[in-house]
């Protein structure tokens, strides 16, 4: 009987194909990297690759939350303006607290971040209730919240213009690195070293920028959450067959609530990061990233019909988008042709994935 369960060798997928399939998307990314390294002066350098990664940190945060939501057969159109809303709150609260609390930024900053993350998660709470309990379709609920968060962002920022954060030190955190190296000084942690008179500032190598660190940590947590926990398992179940999930005893409404709150929370983290990096609470900070952040998830193999998708896929999808954008600028392609090229590469990326599926499934 047990013997029946053991797999006859011939029935297992042939190894080489499986390996190709697993690394296929990486391969496409590698191809892109190779192409741009050959054609774009300065593309292939530690600093450029690191800054691609750093520049995509905000979009990646939004994509991580979106991945959960999309796997659960939902969609969150509100993440962009939720990010902006959280950025506004962060800037406003920080400006209000600084000077009123002891310890300089020491107390004001953590407190303002907590408040911004808390308030920024509220749109997700409302989305979750609307979708999970009141059965409003995700597209509608989050489109409504898109408008609401947008309006509130502008209102809280006092009439449209971004809220500037002038307290010194804030930008140093958001633009700081974990490690610095200068030939004249050696390594130095967290703070850029004071350079001796003769040393050229441009020789300073900065390693692991703050937004990138946050994004990496968030990615690892989300990866674990999606693939290794009940929460992740239930997310897949919900997206694959909501009625079956319900009959199996999964608390569908509560799970939905958590998912949209998580998405809003991660968008808020992006909003806070935006303020730390750009010292500016801008209601418009996130929306331009929305379409890209959804596209990254879908390029990464998630289906808008739910039930499919992985965090690694989303990471690759985001990387593909940002590598193309960076590469095309570096090559110096006409900006209008860039639109065409990006569109074509996105299609190509998925087309190759389809081809793979066909190779494997014949």
């Amino acid at each position: 009987m047990v013997q029946q369960l053991a797999l006859p060798a011939a029935r297992v997928k042939s190894r080489p194909l499986e390996i190709v399939s697993r690394f296929w998307s990486w391969l496409f990314l590698l191809l892109l990297l190779l192409f741009f390294s050959l054609t774009g002066p300065g593309f292939f350098s530690f600093l450029n690759l690191q800054s691609i990664a750093n520049d995509m940190a905000l979009a990646l945060l939004m994509s991580l939350g979106q991945t959960f939501v999309i796997i659960a057969a939902g969609i969150d159109l509100s993440t962009g303006f939720t990010m902006g809303f959280a950025a506004v709150i962060e800037a406003v609260v920080l400006n209000a607290l600084v000077g009123r609390l002891p310890l300089g930024l020491g107390l004001a900053l953590p407190l303002s971040i907590l408040i911004a993350l808390g308030v920024g998660t509220l749109p997700g709470l409302v989305n979750g209730i609307l979708i999970g309990r009141l059965r409003v379709p995700p597209f509608i609920a989050t489109l409504g919240m898109y408008g609401i968060a947008r309006g509130l962002g502008f209102i809280f920022s006092g009439g449209g213009q971004p809220v500037s954060v002038q307290t010194p030190g804030v930008g140093d955190i958001g633009n700081g690195y974990l490690l610095y190296y200068h030939p004249a000084v050696g390594f130095s942690w967290l703070h850029a070293p004071l350079l001796p008179p003769g040393a050229r500032p441009r020789d300073l190598i900065s390693i692991l920028p703050f937004p990138l660190i946050v994004a990496i940590v968030a990615f690892l947590l989300c990866y674990w959450l999606l693939s290794r926990t009940r929460f992740g398992r239930h997310t897949y179940a919900l997206g694959g067959a909501p009625e079956a999930a319900r009959r199996a005893g999964i608390p569908v409404a509560r799970q939905t609530l958590k998912l949209y709150m998580l998405s809003a929370f991660l968008a808020s983290v992006a909003g806070v990061l935006y303020v730390l990096r750009f010292t500016n609470g801008d209601a418009n900070a996130g929306d331009p990233l929305l379409l890209d952040s959804i596209a990254a998830v879908v390029i990464g193999g998630a289906s808008l019909f739910g039930g499919e998708g992985t965090m690694v896929g989303t990471l690759i999808g985001t990387l593909i988008i940002y590598v193309i954008q960076n590469g095309l600028v570096i090559i110096g392609i006409d900006p209008y042709w860039q639109f065409v090229a990006i569109g074509a590469v996105i299609i190509l990326a998925v087309l190759m994935d389809q081809a793979k599926a066909r190779v494997l499934n014949r």
Binding site: G42, M56, Q161, F278, D282, A283, I330
Partner: protein, 309 residues
């Protein structure tokens, strides 16, 4: 400004516009390209697909990686773009801002001093000039409506602010009945203006902070058969705006001089790279031209039109 002369060196300059596909920036690009050709330097041009610091920053990163010698940029946000440009500056890249600025635009005494120059016309002032011209056109009193684009866009918001200042200066003779955002869509602007004309039948003037606002407004005015009654002022002067002006669709066109901005920006960048710092002014106001049906055919007005070719 001193000229570098052709074939001076092979510097690579980058012009980063505020948003791709905008006639204003296309004209700026044309000016910059002409100057770059003249000076024999390489000019790269790019910009974000939307007016957004989040999208503009990666472009700065990319040009840093490409190690361009100078960045001429219309920053999308005066605060947010400080840090990325500071990094570029730290990497030894010359930074010049055109059209818009970072900090408060005062690179001598202001909070930000590393950019070499701010070349452009203050949008608040432009809005004020436009507002004043519109107020004059409606006879000094009446109701005015502002058609703005995308909320949070600094240039158009400043134009709105300037127009409001002009209205306030009339001490009640002119009143502002509302501001709406059309999201850069003439169709939406038409829809909103239609509604506004229902609410305020005796509307006297409309200020469009860019071409979409005024074109849409003009359609709505026309469909309500209120041409002549409602004066329309348009900020920026693409060809379409001049056609509209000649067809009595709009009444006032406020032109900036984007080509000059681009051209001076390139000139300054080359000057700075050659160490010719003395030629560079920290602030170059490029000014405005007010175009009406009366002066549209003058050489000065014709020169100010943003041309696609």
């Amino acid at each position: 400004a001193t000229s570098g002369g052709a074939g001076s060196s092979n510097y690579t300059l980058a012009l980063i516009v505020g948003v791709k596909g905008d006639p204003f920036y296309i004209t700026m690009q044309k000016g910059a390209e002409a100057k770059a050709k003249e000076l024999g330097v390489t000019l790269l041009v790019d910009g974000p697909s939307q007016w957004s610091a989040t999208l503009q920053t990666p472009i700065v990163s990319a040009y840093m990686a490409r190690k361009v010698d100078a960045i001429i940029i219309a920053p999308c946000d005066k605060q947010a773009m400080i840090a990325p440009l500071q990094q570029a500056s730290n990497a030894g890249i010359k930074v010049i801002t055109v059209d818009t600025y970072i900090g408060d635009g005062d690179y001598v005494h202001g909070p930000v001093t590393f950019p070499l120059s701010y070349i452009g016309s203050d949008n608040v002032q432009g809005g004020k000039i436009a507002g004043e011209a519109l107020i004059k056109a409606i006879g000094g009193h009446g109701k005015v409506y502002i058609q703005n684009t995308v909320p949070g866009t600094s240039t158009t918001d400043q134009r709105e602010q300037g127009c409001k200042e002009a209205i306030e200066a009339t001490h009640g003779a002119v009143t502002l009945v509302g501001v709406d955002f059309n999201g850069d869509s003439a169709a939406k602007a038409a829809e909103q203006t239609t509604a506004m004309l229902q609410r305020v039948p005796d509307l006297a003037g409309i200020f469009g902070t860019n071409i979409y606002g005024s074109e849409g407004a003009a359609q709505a005015v026309k469909n309500a058969h209120k041409q002549g009654q409602v004066k329309i002022a348009n900020f920026d002067a693409p060809e379409q705006a001049i056609v509209d002006l000649k067809n009595n669709v709009v009444d006032i066109v406020i032109a900036q001089k984007p080509a000059d901005m681009g051209s001076i920006g390139v000139q300054y960048a080359v000057d700075a790279l050659k160490g010719n710092m003395g030629a560079i002014q920290k602030r170059v106001p490029t000014g405005y031209v007010i175009i009406t049906r009366d002066n549209v055919d003058t050489p000065e007005a014709q020169a100010a039109i943003y041309k696609s070719s």
